[in-house]
């Protein structure tokens, strides 16, 4: 058990953790605005990744396909909200959850029907050769994926923190009535939120596909890790969800490496156990607000 291995596993954990954190952030963004967990978030990411694969096969350079996929994912997420969610906007939460689950099944089946269930390799934009720092080797894709994820998250932070539209979206999520009185079109803010969530998911999908291979079920495990991340960080805290993702990624890797009976087969169980522990010990998560309702 060397320090080098430890550092290697931590960095590799951070890379996958960034992906979990991105999907968790997408979940949290929609949850904060509507108090609904979008179970279709993973499949939306998977579908976006297939679109990226199609664009790449058409001969587009990687980063052109990458940006085009983000644009398509954004518009797609926006349209899904307008077409599927808006009609049930005022329906009970369970109705919306069922719509999301329906969307999950549809996207999964359509992807299987169009692209088949056979796993496809998905390229990484980063070199295959590991990067050596001192005695330690890091996967170039791990470092690159972590970098891309962090850039996207920083971009989102700047958007929400410093732009008027970002401010209006935060306002609409917190207090729809007051937002309307400020002239904010709350419905459209929700749609933009779905668009951004789809965009973040697409980044996660494209970064994870080179590791897990492309197939219609590639995001199902990742969605569970994302749930664990969002639960750990707190479903009411975007920053917490990202940090939760990084923590989950590292824990998953370290437990898989050092606890021999867990190995790779039981890794997912660790995520589920984590959800359970957090819900019992600290239901609002590490950074979440405790919900207080005035009666």
């Amino acid at each position: 058990m060397s320090v080098d291995t430890l550092i290697q596993q931590v960095v590799s954990g951070l890379a996958t953790g960034g992906i979990y954190g991105s999907v968790a952030l997408a979940l949290v963004m929609i949850y904060q605005a509507t108090e609904v967990v979008n179970y279709a978030q993973g499949e939306m990411a998977m579908f976006s990744t297939y679109l990226a694969w199609t664009l790449l096969n058409a001969g587009l350079p990687y980063w052109v396909a990458f940006v085009a996929t983000l644009a398509i994912a954004f518009v797609g997420g926006l349209l899904l909200e307008r077409i599927l969610i808006r009609p049930v906007e005022n329906a009970p939460v369970l109705t919306i959850v069922i719509v999301c689950i329906g969307l999950l099944v549809i996207l999964n089946s359509v992807a299987g029907w169009v692209y088949s269930y056979i796993q496809k390799p998905f390229p990484s934009p980063f070199p295959a050769k590991p990067i050596q720092l001192g005695n330690i080797y890091f996967g170039a894709h791990d470092l690159g994926a972590l970098g891309v994820t962090l850039v996207v998250l920083a971009g989102l932070y700047v958007f929400f923190r410093f732009t008027t539209l970002g401010l209006a979206m935060r306002a609409a999520a917190q207090n729809p009535v007051s937002s309307r009185l400020c002239g904010i079109r709350v419905g459209w803010m929700l749609a933009v939120g779905w668009g951004l969530a789809a965009l973040v998911g697409a980044v996660a999908g494209m970064m994870v596909a080179p590791i897990v291979f492309l197939d219609p079920n590639m995001m199902s495990g990742i969605l569970i890790y994302a749930f664990a991340s969002a639960t750990l960080g707190g479903f009411t805290s975007p920053g917490g969800a990202v940090l939760g993702g990084l923590i989950v990624g590292v824990i998953e890797n370290l437990v898989g490496t050092y606890v021999s009976f867990i190995g790779t087969e039981l890794k997912l169980t660790v995520a589920l156990a984590l959800i359970l522990i957090v819900l019992v010990v600290r239901p609002s998560g590490l950074f979440g607000r405790v919900a207080v309702h005035r009666v």
């Binding site: 008027t164 401010l167 209006a168 935060r170 306002a171 917190q174 207090n175 009535v177 007051s178 937002s179 309307r180 009185l181 400020c182 002239g183 904010i184 079109r185």
Partner: protein
């Protein structure tokens, strides 16, 4: 003076209960009009109806245009700022972010900084707390923030719903003094809904009395103050 807002035969219901039964009133351009009445008379519903927040029958004309049935966001864009009952503070955002949101619907978002300084001029305490989370403000400060946020729109019509509710008398007097200044200096017409009749009549130049969903009396504020019935029932002497 011409009417900036004219409401005719407004009706509204919550479920089977009719809360507005043919309400008619006007707000003069540049004036302060108040609607008095007891709890449950329909005052808040009337204000909400003007902003398209409740479904209604009847006519609402603003600046010569019919606005009934329009979405709240569109009414706001015409220059109608509504300070809701309970203040509607964005409690997790900073004071400055609350103020910036007030200007969201404006066509010219330039001079935003100058406008924040201008409204903070009315409420210096907000300038001191610009970076503070709005939920940590006191009730009076949140009411000031709500009025300041409404002013960021540069409205032509300011709707105020019970600005005195739950506040200490000194704070209330301060807020009412500022509303008068705003009305005079910025030529903002005001429609004030208030349970505190003596305060409202002191500020307004025209007043209506509302009882169970309809206007039962109207006149200049001075006339209503002299009225025996109002004195006994609403002013308490």
């Amino acid at each position: 003076m011409a009417a900036l807002l004219a409401v005719r035969n407004l009706e509204a219901r919550y479920g089977d209960t009719k809360v507005l039964r043919g309400v008619s009133f006007e707000v003069a351009e540049g004036g302060i009009t108040t609607i008095l009445g007891a709890n449950g008379a329909g005052k808040t519903t009337t204000l909400r109806a003007v902003c398209g927040m409740v479904k209604t029958a009847g006519q609402i004309s603003y600046d010569g245009r019919r606005i009934e049935g329009r979405a709240t966001e569109d009414v706001v864009r015409l220059g109608v700022a509504h300070v809701p009952e309970g203040r509607g503070t964005f409690v997790q955002l900073t004071v400055e972010e609350n103020l910036r949101l007030g200007a969201y619907a404006r066509r010219d978002p330039r001079h935003l900084g100058a406008d924040i300084d201008r409204v903070c001029g009315y409420f210096p305490v907000l300038a001191e707390r610009r970076r503070q989370i709005a939920g940590t403000l006191s009730g009076g400060e949140q009411q000031m923030l709500a009025v300041a946020r409404a002013l960021m729109l540069r409205p032509r019509l300011l709707l105020l719903d019970e600005p005195s509710l739950g506040l200490a008398p000194l704070v209330v007097r301060e807020i009412f003094r500022i509303i008068r200044t705003i009305n005079r200096d910025e030529r903002v017409s005001v429609l004030l809904v208030e349970q505190n009749a003596s305060l409202a009549l002191g500020l307004a130049d025209h007043a209506y009395l509302m009882e169970t969903g309809t206007m039962v009396m109207s006149g200049s504020a001075a006339e209503l103050r002299q009225n025996d019935g109002i004195r006994r029932a609403y002013l308490g002497y």
